[in-house]
């Protein structure tokens, strides 16, 4: 659905109606005529999409690009503004989302409804204390020096630099920290990958996205992508105060354990997914978790408390241990660094959560 930016040609496009259970992005068809530096398509208060150019003069394109929305999109017409002498025109909502919606609905309902992973909380408050102190000190010093304007201005400029630096230092880790969970269910398992991050989610070029969600569901989002994929074909999604969730089909993104389209198998008899640095299982009756320790790829399920498992926590992290369904064995594991499947650098830790480890 959201393969970064889909270029296509075509005529009129019928409007489509998004299911209320649709994700946060719906595809719109837009006609562009250069020269353009930037195009903004806004559907307020849902959000906006920014297309970064440049698009050369005389160049014309019809592009299909996602817009942040919620609920039904029929009748919605985004406000289009351009930066440049060219023009942009909204042609209509693209029906290509229907395929992704069908693929989404084909997944087991319990897998689709599984609580989304929660990324680590920010390591700093919205306004870092150090930045506040620097700004306050600059105000006090500037006031004290108000009779000497040049010195007051100098102190204020220094204070501004220190304040911005304090924000930069405090918020850099929090802005990029995220979590990736490979969610599976059944045997053979149906899988998808979930990337969750706070406020900013980056999807590298070439990745295929099945669905995007936000928590809260009606957070205002800003989707940004370059018109020229050679200058960075990935996209960025931002939402103040929101947890942003991207769901991708595991098989298409990771290519399976041997590069095939087959979903990786993970059962008691064999782990074909990846090396797990730590793992836990929960019995089908929900009677508590057991730490298994590391589980190497290509081996059978280790015995509980095996080598390397003695020092592990008795339970997996609470964020990955919500009310998972009873009646099936559940596995939660943390992938060993550097092992397959590959992941975006921004994703942070990678976990696997499988319901139905039989």
């Amino acid at each position: 659905m959201i393969a970064a930016l889909v270029l296509c040609l075509g005529g009129g496009v019928p409007a489509v109606t998004a299911d209320v259970d649709a994700g946060r992005l719906r595809s719109a068809r837009v006609e562009l005529a250069g020269p353009l530096e930037r195009v903004r398509l806004a559907v307020e208060p849902m959000g906006e999409t920014l297309l970064r150019g440049p698009l050369a003069g005389g160049e014309r394109r019809t592009v299909v690009v996602p817009l942040p929305t919620w609920g039904e999109v029929e009748g919605l017409v985004p406000e289009v503004t351009v930066d440049g002498a060219g023009a942009a025109r909204f042609l209509g909502w693209d029906p290509s989302d229907a395929r992704a919606d069908a693929a989404w609905r084909a997944l087991p309902a319990s897998l689709r409804r599984r609580p989304r992973p929660v990324p680590p909380p920010p390591s700093s408050p919205a306004v870092p204390l150090a930045a506040l102190l620097a700004a306050a000190a600059a105000l006090a010093a500037g006031w004290a020096l108000r009779g000497r304007p040049l010195r007051a201005v100098g102190v204020s400029v220094l204070g501004a630099v220190a304040t911005a630096a304090a924000v930069e230092t405090a918020r850099a880790p929090a802005a990029t920290a995220g979590i990736r969970v490979l969610e599976g269910e059944g045997e053979p398992a149906a899988w998808f990958a979930v990337d969750a991050a706070r406020e900013r989610l980056v999807a590298p070029a070439g990745t295929s996205t099945l669905r995007v969600e936000s928590i809260p569901e009606r957070a205002r989002l800003v989707y940004e992508v370059r018109l020229d994929p050679e200058r960075g074909g990935g996209w960025t999604l931002a939402g103040r105060g929101a947890v942003l969730v991207r769901i991708a089909e595991l098989a298409s993104e990771e290519g399976g354990p041997s590069g095939s389209d087959a979903a990786p198998r993970l059962s008691r008899g064999a782990n074909e997914l990846a090396d797990l640095a730590a793992s836990w299982v929960r019995a089908a009756d929900g009677s508590g978790w057991r730490a298994l320790g590391p589980w190497a790829r290509g081996t059978a399920e280790p015995s509980a408390g095996g080598a390397g498992g003695a020092g592990a926590a008795a339970d997996p992290p609470g964020a990955l241990n919500p009310a998972l369904p009873l009646g099936r064995r559940v596995l939660v594991g943390r992938l060993a660094p550097g092992g397959p499947p590959s992941r975006p650098a921004e994703a942070g830790a990678v976990w696997v959560r499988l319901v139905g480890l039989d």
């Binding site: 105000l139 006031w143 007051a152 304040t163």
Partner: protein, 199 residues
Amino acid sequence: MGRGALAAAWAISLLPGILAAFGPSWDLGVASQLGWALVPWIALAGLPAGTADPGSDGDARGVSPAVAAALALPPLALTAALDRHAGLGVGVLAATGVAGLALVFLLALAARRGRKRPLAHGSVWLGLVPLAALAAWTAGLSGSAPAWLATLGGASPLTWALERAGDPAGDPVGGAARMLGPLAVVVLCLAASAGAPER
């Protein structure tokens, strides 16, 4: 700007970020903290400073326009950095910051000069800055604002700052044409403050 106005502008400009630190329920839903930070500085920089004190340049009670704009820099830098982490473009933030600082400086300059003509400056400032913004906002709520009121309200520097707070990326760089109204209001404030002292 006086001591009280400075302290108030400083505190109000950082309010959304400070409240957000207490959790999501305190989130004021401000799209651009920089845009929000400019609102109190623009509102208070032009506040009529009262009658002139013969023999005094006023530094005992307040700061010069240049210093007032400079003192706004740290909170603006702080909020711009927060906006940058939230995904707003550096170009948009820089344009908003520079334009906002210019408005703060010019409004403070008009207020300082207006001490000699408090009635003229005070009337123009009150009508074209806070009241115009308030009237346009109130009429906008009812959805039936006449065109002249929308134009007048849109020209208020306060309306411009509030637009930046709510829709920071809209109309790229705020649109140079979008600045014409606020600049015209500032010029009128400066014109009203110029001339011989009122009796």
